[in-house]
């Protein structure tokens, strides 16, 4: 059952007001511009046992993603496509407010938002990953583990997932006697269009990008947009207890497309 989280109480009233007052003046508590990301660092191939991996930092927020691949069964309704599985786990290492236990709604929402953004833009060319349609296809697992939560986990998770995918190598294969034989040689995972996830926060009339943890606690609402390289949107998720007027939605979309370019430059090549 989904339930209101008692997060509102965490920030002291003074802190809360000082953040809000600054934002009204167009300033942020950490000195950034409203539409400016914190410093982004991406390190790839950090896990040698993973077929692809990336450690992403956005300021103090730190997320690791790993890609594993195996041959398995396709989904019944897409027999001629590989399978993409995204799993994010908000492990208690990353925040005093993450509890150990089976995945909750926040873990699941994060997984599904990243999954849809990747899927809609065809980040993985799943149609090239079905050696024996209907029988044996590639399963591509993308596991996302935040290590330090200082806000904006969605964008960091998206970057980590995309960076890991871009550096993923899979075994080449041949089909022999109705079975898939994996060869020793490796090749890059076939990649299509990868999105950049940009989360826009709204407080009063102000829009900001890349909210920090403290900012997240005071936002009216957030909207995450998955932005493709040709300035289209391949996924949207509004979250939080407030709303946006259609006009502000429009502005958020423009803003996301604008900043996505800068973020995209950080992607591994």
């Amino acid at each position: 059952m989904s339930s209101t989280k008692p997060f509102g109480d965490i920030l002291s009233t003074i802190k809360r007001e000082s953040i809000v007052t600054l934002l009204r003046k167009g300033e942020r508590i950490d000195g950034r511009g409203l539409h400016e990301y914190r410093k982004i660092e991406i390190e790839t191939n950090v896990i040698s046992k993973a077929e692809g991996s990336a450690l992403v930092k956005i300021g103090d927020t730190k997320v690791i993603a790993g890609v594993k691949t195996e041959i398995g069964k396709p989904f019944p309704d897409t027999p001629d496509m590989g399978v993409q599985i995204v799993n994010a786990e908000l492990i208690p290492i990353a925040s005093p407010f993450f509890e150990p236990g089976p995945p909750g709604e926040d873990d699941i929402e994060l997984s599904r938002v990243i999954d849809r953004g990747l899927r809609s833009s065809e980040a993985i060319k799943l149609n090239e990953l079905a050696p024996i349609p209907g029988e044996k296809v590639w399963i591509i697992y993308i596991d996302i583990y935040p290590l330090d939560h200082y806000g904006n986990l969605v964008d960091a998770s998206g970057l980590a997932a995309v960076s890991a995918l871009l550096t993923t190598k899979i075994k080449n294969w041949k089909v022999e006697d109705g079975d898939v034989v994996l060869l020793d040689e490796e090749k890059p995972l076939p990649i299509g269009e990868v999105p950049v996830f940009v989360t826009v926060g709204k407080i009063g009339d102000t829009l900001i990008v890349d909210p920090s943890y403290e900012e997240e606690l005071i936002l009216d609402a957030k909207i995450t947009l998955a932005v493709t390289s040709d300035d289209k949107i391949s996924g949207i998720q509004k979250s939080g207890l407030g709303g946006f007027t259609p006009e502000v939605v429009k502005n958020a979309v423009s803003l996301a497309i604008n900043v996505a370019d800068q973020v995209r430059k950080k992607l591994p090549t």
Binding site: M1, S2, S3, T4, P6, G8, D9, G104, E105, D106, I108, E109, S111, R112, R116, R119, S120, S121, E122, N127, I223, T228, D231, K232, I233, S234, G235, I236, Q237, K238, S239, G240, L241, G242, G243, F244, T245, P246, V249, K250, V253, S254, I257
Partner: protein, 247 residues
């Protein structure tokens, strides 16, 4: 993403069920559909059939979960195993868990939660039959159930999805369109404040398509909003009648 040969718009520009692109399916809303719940509603939208029930504001157990300055809102969206083509296993799916959250976040902005500190308001949604757009229809029904429960609200929330096929925006996708179309954008709005409280999308949309979709949704949502208010009015007229006739 979803390559296929299913024709969703014919040469005359009509959809698989004969609708025009900007045409919503017929709908029916009943307020007070159930007796146990403090508030309830039933919605039919095309072949979708959904029941929403609200219990509360009531006590929270265990007590340390109570919020000191506002009511806790809980929401559970659930699909009956027989509501879909292939029987759905009765366990909670990840989809149901996510939808419970976004539906809650679509409804909470409309509730005066600060009037009932330390209590819980429970919203239970049961999809009896699903044919595309259950989350938006659920929001439309649940907000009637909240009002029917007498919970003070800033406004009702109504919702509809806009999808896409063959580069055409389509209002209110049905199940087939959702399965074979190129994208889906569920939208909830509080009409009085013109506030979008649910907004999701998959598929690829250009910025101008998003703008256009919001407009299409808004028109439909105003119709649903009228339907919601009429359903509530019918319920109160019926009660008044019963009260008067019993005097």
């Amino acid at each position: 993403m979803r390559s296929n040969n299913v024709v969703l718009i014919n040469e005359e520009g009509l959809r698989v069920d004969g609708r025009r692109p900007n045409e919503m399916r017929p709908f029916k809303i009943i307020a007070g559909y159930l007796s146990n719940a403090d508030g309830s509603a039933y919605i039919e939208l095309g072949r979708n059939k959904i029941v929403a029930a609200v219990y509360g504001p009531r006590e929270v157990h265990p007590k340390y979960l109570a919020l000191p300055h506002r009511a806790t809102v809980r929401c559970r969206y659930s699909m009956a195993p027989f509501s879909v083509e292939e029987r759905k296993s009765p366990g909670r799916s990840r989809r149901e868990i996510e939808l419970s959250k976004v539906i809650r976040e679509a409804l909470e902005p409309a509730i005066f939660v600060e009037e009932y500190p330390r209590t819980v308001i429970d919203i239970f949604i049961q999809v009896l039959e699903a044919d595309g757009g259950t989350r938006t229809a659920s929001i439309t029904a649940a907000s009637v159930a909240l009002a029917d429960a007498g919970i003070p609200m800033r406004d009702l929330v109504a919702a509809i999805a806009v999808g896409k096929a063959s580069d055409t925006l389509l209002l209110d996708l049905n199940g087939i369109e959702d399965q074979y179309g190129d994208g889906d954008m569920p939208i909830a709005i509080m009409p009085r404040y013109n506030l979008v409280t649910l907004f999701q999308a998959d598929g690829i949309f250009a910025p101008e398509e998003i703008e256009e979709a919001l407009k299409m949704a808004r028109e439909a949502i105003y119709k649903l909003y009228e339907g919601q208010k009429e359903a509530l009015k019918r319920k109160y007229l019926k009660i008044r009648e019963e009260v008067l006739s019993s005097e």
